[in-house]
């Protein structure tokens, strides 16, 4: 982790370290300019607690070009492909049965996401 004396806290809760990566990616994408908003996609199987991610952002962003920016969390659901009947389906966490054939061998194809989707920057450059 680089910069500004926050390195001593960024690993004490794992969302801090992960949020720091997302923040650095956002700042890099803004090429040093201000960042007004970040959209982050979070899957329920990423192991990340959304509230902790919000807290981490509030702890890390002040003093950076993303100070005061809005963090938008886009939550996904686990998605599967059934190898028996080829159905693609989404389920709540903890219910993995294929709704079409009842199979439980579904292959996970979504729900692990933890990614910075986009940033909002001032439209004057």
């Amino acid at each position: 982790m680089d910069s500004d004396g926050k390195s001593d806290i960024v690993e004490s809760m794992h969302e801090l370290g992960l949020m720091n990566h997302l923040l650095q990616d956002a700042l890099a994408a803004a090429r040093g300019g201000p960042v007004c908003g970040l959209s982050v996609r979070v899957g329920p199987l990423s192991g990340v607690v959304v509230e902790a991610l919000q807290f981490a952002f509030e702890a890390l962003s002040p003093g950076s070009p993303a100070a005061g920016a809005t963090l938008t969390i886009l939550e996904t659901r686990p998605s599967f492909r059934c190898p028996d009947c080829q159905t693609r389906y989404e389920t709540p966490l903890g219910a993995y049965q294929c709704p079409a054939c009842g199979g439980t061998a579904g292959e996970l194809c979504g729900g692990n996401e933890l990614e910075l989707v986009s940033i909002e920057v001032p439209d004057h450059v």
Partner: protein
Amino acid sequence: MCDSCGCGHSHPHFHSAGSDHTPPVPATRTVEVRTSALAVNQRYADENRGWFRAKGLHVFNLLSSPGSGKTALLEKTLPRLPHSAAMVGDLQTQRDAERLRNSGAQALQITTGATCHLDAHMVAHALERLNTDGVNILFIENVGNLVCPASYDLGEAKRIVLLSVTEGEDKPLKYPVIFQKADLVLLTKMDLAAAVEFNREAAVAHLRAVAPNAAVLDVSSKTGEGMEAWLAWLESSAAGA
């Protein structure tokens, strides 16, 4: 702070809100990024996996809550697998590595300080200290924690999650992510099952709800119950990996 877009900066803005009394439109534009927060860890994990393959090492990542019997299980397992070694993560102390070395095996401690999990980078550094001569199985005992370690691929071939009978049958429902990613779930401390009225059927049903395909084995490090099946699973897994 800019009143129009609320972005917290005093830089000059060219908002469309003028004197025409139309509501201010936040004058921002969207820049697509698409980067993963775990991309750095994934790079190290992929490097570790390549290194393990080159060295002929079969690597098992052991995950569980603190006190569910990871170290006790390895104390009984390492002497039975003469070509095995272990690295063990804790926030502080060398105690677990010392315990494992007392069983005669090579064991390295990774102390994480305040960090609640092992990541692939920490493991990569620990590998610099590992003597791989004659070793074909490596156990990585993760920091005791049912939440954070689930997010981090270390480069392992298989994930093993321990659930001790004293923890309660509904742990898989409360912490589904870690169980969902398990290749094998070990029900540990089976010698205490009767004393704590452990309902195995309920525990397995809860586990099946989140991880329908994980293998399940019952073990007791204290009595040796289930050890042969556990060793057979490890050996067949290592042979097939």
